[in-house]
Amino acid sequence: MVEGEEPLPPPHNNREVNVRKGRNKLIIPFLLPAAIIYLVIFVYPTIQALFVTLNDWSGFTPNMSYVGLRNFQELLKDPKYWISVRNTLGILFLGGIGIFGFSFLFTGTLTSGFRGKRIFRAIIFFPYLVAPIALATLWSFIYNPRFGLLNGVLRAVGLENLTQQWMAPDRLYPALLVAIVWISTGFYTVILLAGTDKIPQEFFDAAKVEGASRFQMFWRITIPMIWDVLTICLVFWGIEALKMFEFIYAFGSGDQPKIQIWTVGVYMYILSFGKRATIFRMGYGTAVAATILIFVILFVLLTRRIMRREVIEY
């Protein structure tokens, strides 16, 4: 019914289809609400925050004093900042290895046909839904040296000499990592599982005929086929790990976490807000937080480069 239109070849790329009349009329009204809200509520405050990084400001008085890049110079020389960077990267990489290691393990195990797959999947995912404060409390009970679950189990199986002070300062960071892995693995397992489910069964059947072991099937079929999904998961984890705050802040004793588990996000919060100690350096704190953005950008670029390859369309 549309005049003057020739039948087009089916588009290879969706983006080439804009030739219907009147289609472009939609662009502005559809895009505008989101753009406005985004600009006002997100972009503008971000710019303001970036401006704050160039100032010294207690947050209590409306007076800010402009100091240029001094906050950034300071943080480059601040040993506590670098400790927090190290901790953050540790969560990102060590935690990531743990999370994706277990996710692959579960994905490989929970293949279709596995009895109880749905229930197991649902249970593994569940910790992700719980409020971080609750989880932190739970873990402090698990790790308690006297009545904690972990030591209790060790004692019950006769491994008394392995019982530890799990949240002692030198073990606090590993303890945190374990908890983070436990909480986050479910999320990534679920996504990877969905990706694996999409792989046509024929590939696996053919491979079985060929005599491939489960392991080979996993390595040679599953992983390449879920490469895109994997990339998304990695990017997502990177962002989550770099931004992670609530659980860490609640972990361990007292009002604030001990320095062994200070991440950049935690350090920023302590500098700007904190609880007992009156620091209130919003300018410096925001500068610290701004560096998270840099890490995020670096990580995303790095991941996309490493994971780049031809898209398998199926």
Binding site: V2, K25, A34, I41, P45, L129, A134
Partner: protein, 297 residues
């Protein structure tokens, strides 16, 4: 990777040999099953423990940590619900988060539709601008947001919080939905256009229903993350009657620190967990489906 093999070659190998060859991978398989069972068992145990703990007295909690309570202390729940107003907070959370999620979908879906399927100058830049927002730690935005909302007199206002949540959830939602819309075939679009459907009609009657798994996924995802959000609410809400549930939990934890009412805290935790748990049990398939649809094309 060649798929077609000469099956004659396979059958020549003896079954025994094959069995031995597969031993290591079988071993790994069973080992991983063991890990799985332990993991799942531990998770179930932990949550049952939280629920059981919420029914104990404080003394029981610390002296008989892993045993069942001698009697069920429902008083913990009554206290959390009424004294600490968890009931009010619950209502607030439900309304605020639901509204925010609806608003997000209403705004993000059309935008994602445009960004993923229309070609125009600046498309990629705009898309990237939205998605880049995912990387910004929103602790940084707390004070600027506060100042902004003050200017519009939207502080201590639940609608204001809805708006704030919407704005902050846009990056991820747009990311999810653009990915999703991109996968939808154009044939149906074409067919509807030929049938005389308006562009808006195409969107509403054809594309949107097709995209419902993605929309559900975005909805569920946002719901989960906003339900537990408390930093922004902490800064923006001051009146007690307007607090959200997560703020209530936070306040409960604060109060509990000075009253040592740990079991009360656990009761609060269970209360805050309940809706998520129920949604999860009833709709776990949908929930997980929803989440994965967005990420997996």
């Amino acid at each position: 990777m060649a798929v077609i093999q000469n099956s004659k070659i396979r059958s020549r190998e003896s079954i025994l040999l094959r069995g031995i060859k597969e031993l290591p991978s079988n071993f790994v398989y069973f080992g991983s099953q063991l890990v799985l069972y332990c993991w799942v068992g531990f998770t179930i145990f932990s949550f049952i423990w939280i629920i059981v703990a919420s029914f104990k007295t404080n003394r029981e909690l610390f002296s008989q940590v892993w045993q069942l309570p001698s009697s069920l202390q429902f008083g913990n729940y009554i206290k959390a619900w009424s004294v600490v107003h968890m009931g009010t907070y619950f209502l607030n959370s439900v309304v605020i988060v639901s509204m925010a999620v609806l608003l997000i979908l209403t705004i993000a879906a059309p935008a994602a539709y445009i960004l993923s399927r229309f070609k125009f100058r600046g498309n990629e830049a705009i898309t990237n601008l939205f998605i880049a927002g995912m990387g910004i730690p929103y602790q940084v935005l707390l004070v600027p947001l506060f100042m902004l909302f003050k200017q519009f007199s939207l502080l201590d206002n639940r609608l204001g919080l809805v708006l704030a949540y919407t704005g902050l959830s846009l990056p991820f939602s747009i990311f999810l939905l653009t990915g999703f819309f991109r996968t939808l075939p154009t044939e149906l679009e074409e067919a509807a256009a030929i049938d005389g459907c308006s562009e808006f009609g195409i969107f509403r009657k054809v594309m949107l229903p097709l995209a419902s798994p993605g929309l559900v996924s975005a909805a569920i995802f946002n719901f989960i993350s906003l339900w537990n959000e408390y930093l922004l609410a902490l800064v923006m809400i001051t009146t007690d009657g307007k607090r959200t549930l997560s703020l209530g939990l936070y306040a409960l934890q604060g109060a509990m620190q000075y009253t040592s009412d740990w079991v009360g805290l656990f009761a609060g935790v269970v209360i805050i967990l309940l809706p998520t748990l129920l949604i999860y049990i009833i709709m776990s398939e949908r929930v997980l489906e929803g989440i994965t649809f967005g990420a997996v094309k």
